[in-house]
Symmetry: C2
Subunit: 337 residues, 2 copies
């Protein structure tokens, strides 16, 4: 093949929001497939916010980029030469060609596409990884019930629009969050959302309070940061928050302040709020169980006693500085008169 | 009754860590019980970090304090006069008398104590609300399995020492976090923890990594803030984080930076991390379900197409600024040659 392969390359780690100068470009020769490989020409390149995180070259992604490397990315392509038994010239495939016109593949992780079922570009959007993200996060993690309020950020993007529409099909009341009135109008008119809030316009927490008068039962979070904070202030009891994307943090050079929730996603972890008053009916059970362990000598406790009510303020100040040792108590009077 | 009632009062909202001047004191006459009430004399006053939060006079607690009001708080007391049919003179009770020597009660929320079962002071600690908090949070929310690694902060306090010892009785490997070597030695030698890390001494995340080589399966969080952040960096897959207390934030005049997790606790909410790669086996299901909705005209999508690979960097910069509208795609080549 005599054609050249135009590639967009990684030039440097961006500072903050990326700029075009963070990328380079070159032309290479088009490679020829070896045994078990095929060559495909890229038709559609998907642009996804997580690429910005890959460009940080931190260790959470398998892809590591050196300057001059072709940018990674999902594509839809057509097989133009094949020495792979499962792929034939003319096949349309979803494949990680990256930001270039031609690439080789060994077929691993490649999906064949049927262009008669849906436009092939949807394999990068609603019928691809973004769609699966919105679908799985809503159906298996968020699990909105009919009538519950489901809120989703970046709601006109491929993940958010899928999540919101899946929730609508599950019977939920869907409220989107987007960055312009035009996007909000689209969410309500085209996507069928019940309401949509423009986060660039006014106090988001207050606007959500009005749009979700009974609180937010499920939040599908694609952005993190201030948007997440505003939603958390409007949660309904027993709410579920699906942590999916943290776009706000992707362009930060340092981790954002406060506990980073990124590792929570990485670990597929669950965070739950505990309020002891919900468990008051277990007081007798707890007393019985721990009492038995105390009698058996396998459960211990320690008290840090201050004598006299007048010293309670001092003792409290000690407690708040973590200088007490054991349960902090003030002896106000004798046990027996 | 001719005795006076010594009281410690709320003087002002503290700035940062409380100081003794944030409190006042006075003497009042001892009140007499009316019908359905009893009078008790305070024996033990419990000091708990959440009082600092009450002193903020924010709206999350029912108790609101004006200057001169007696400080709220849990106590163990003895009934000295009663016009209540269920409480008799001499009875020991767990009652919210606050920071004062005498108080009236109508009996609501009052627990009678049996002094032959355990020291009555334990009704404020391991056999009271702190014990119930540690017990319920571990048994019903954290649910450590035998052999799993259970980490608890403020681990020599009444909540933390209960949580850790309950986890030990459930078969977990227990690692404490405390603020001194002395406390850590106590946690290991007396409470039977497998290990304990002093958060004041060195890089906590790194020390936890060494103490928990297979990661942290359950974290019982009593402090929030930097400690929580260090734990999150060491979570095992499918970890559970029980958000119980946020002592670090109680003494802050402003909310700490980053999304506040306080509302997550208040709403008893669940936060879950979503990683789409865990759901790859659902790709066909998703395509079938959403494909059907698309055919029925009840599911919509939108694409934001940039023409030509050379413009991909520009399009990516637009995407990262939230200025795209719909799924961001670059047309690299024609669908058909």
């Amino acid at each position: 093949m005599s054609e050249r392969n135009h590639r967009i390359t990684f030039a440097r780690v961006p500072r903050g929001l990326p700029v075009p100068e963070d990328f380079g470009s070159d032309q290479t020769s088009v490679p020829a497939p070896g045994p078990g490989q095929f060559l495909s020409r890229t038709i559609w390149l998907s642009l996804d916010p997580y690429y910005r995180n890959v460009m940080k070259n931190s260790q959470i992604y398998a892809d590591r980029l050196a300057p001059g490397d072709v940018m990674v990315g999902e594509t839809v392509a057509q097989v133009v030469e094949s020495k792979h038994e499962n792929f034939r010239v003319g096949d349309y495939v979803a494949v990680r060609n990256g930001w270039q016109q031609y690439a080789l593949s060994d077929g691993k992780g490649v999906r064949k596409l049927d262009p008669s079922l849906a436009p092939i570009s949807t394999a990068l959007g609603v019928l691809g990884m973004p769609g699966l993200t919105g679908y799985a996060g809503t159906v298996f993690l968020g699990q909105p019930l009919p009538g519950q309020t489901f809120v989703v950020s970046a709601c006109t993007g491929p993940v958010g629009s899928t999540a919101g529409q899946v929730a609508r099909h599950m019977g939920a009341r869907v409220v989107g969050i987007a960055g312009s009135d035009e996007k909000c109008a689209y969410a309500v008119k085209e996507l069928g959302f019940d309401d949509c809030v423009n986060y660039r316009d006014g106090d988001l927490a207050e606007k959500l309070r009005k749009a979700c008068p009974r609180g937010i039962d499920v939040y599908f979070d694609n952005v993190g940061g201030d948007t997440l904070a505003a939603v958390l202030r409007n949660l309904a009891m027993q709410a579920r928050v699906v942590l999916c994307g943290m776009i706000e943090a992707y362009s930060m050079d340092k981790p954002p302040p406060g506990p980073s929730l990124g590792p929570v996603v990485g670990a597929r972890a669950t965070m739950k709020g505990l309020v002891v008053y919900d468990h008051m009916d277990r007081m007798d059970e707890m007393t019985r169980v721990i009492g038995r362990w105390m009698k058996a000598g396998t459960f211990h406790y320690r008290e840090d006693v201050t004598e006299g009510l007048a010293h309670a303020p001092d003792a409290f100040c000690v407690l708040m500085r973590g200088k007490n040792f054991g349960k902090s108590l003030v002896r106000v009077g004798p046990e027996k008169l």
